[in-house]
Symmetry: C2
Subunit: 154 residues, 2 copies
Amino acid sequence: MAKRPAQPEFDRDCQDILTQCACEALRRTSRTVTSRYQENLRAVGITAAQLPILVAAHLMGPVPLSPLATQLGMDRTTLTRNLAGLQEADLVSVDPDVDRRVRLISITPTGRRALRRATGAWREAQSHVESAFGRERMRALIGELEALASVAAR
Amino acid sequence: MAKRPAQPEFDRDCQDILTQCACEALRRTSRTVTSRYQENLRAVGITAAQLPILVAAHLMGPVPLSPLATQLGMDRTTLTRNLAGLQEADLVSVDPDVDRRVRLISITPTGRRALRRATGAWREAQSHVESAFGRERMRALIGELEALASVAAR
DNA sequence: CCGCTTTACGTGTATATACACGCATCATGG
DNA sequence: CCATGATGCGTGTATATACACGTAAAGCGG
């Protein structure tokens, strides 16, 4: 029986999805790198997703949920869910605002102590990666990631 | 009362975690870019995480689960869970091997048809990003991501 | 052939992510 | 004031991710 006509376009797309797709490359690298950092954070008892939330809560003081989510580039509802765990562990507090629609996020004293230990663990992981990959090279890469995010943002 | 002694190291780390951390930059960009691609794939009925699995199953023929997970740079158990949905939708099949420990993954005819429609939707998203970000620039970025993943891999 | 190790995999559990939908509160024009 | 639209959030649901642990099968030395 005769073979189907070749569809070089389709085959090329399939290859490209594994080797040239920005989404897939990001997701894959994200998985791998997250594991590395998370390994260090495990001893501190916080996750790779919680660390930036804790930091932002520390730096932005009492801040409404939505601006915090925007700052972190994550969905508002994702932040709501992630905050539940941090609140449970008494690392952040969620308080009412004068505007009663708003919930103000802030870091707690316990959270600040955890953050101090976390930054140490984080710097270890960061240093390892910087050493192996190159400090300036990583700065450049992160700059490109920000640029790509800007392009992809709506 | 006297202010606590400044801890410039801690404050710098906090800033760095938001602006210089490879993990956070990757996770954030990954979220944003995934949304963009997923938006296009929605019409096809598959997710951004499912697409590379479908492609790899297509290209690697009947392949054991673990090598497939390695190829995709994801945890073996994550792939198991993700395959459940694809199997449910009859896009991939999971069959026994002569070695009865092994489960062989392959794409189904239905999966191949879905993949054809998906590649079209994917190329649209990919083209948009390439246009806005620069084709060669994106190639370079993806190369750097692969290099970083190699560094972070154990 | 048998016991031990190694390999390939699934499951329980926990967290992460985000869309669709709905609710309460605020602001504003009349 | 008050109706109406805009704003800020939570919840239901579905998927994604991976660690810890357990199980079955294969390999292997004796």
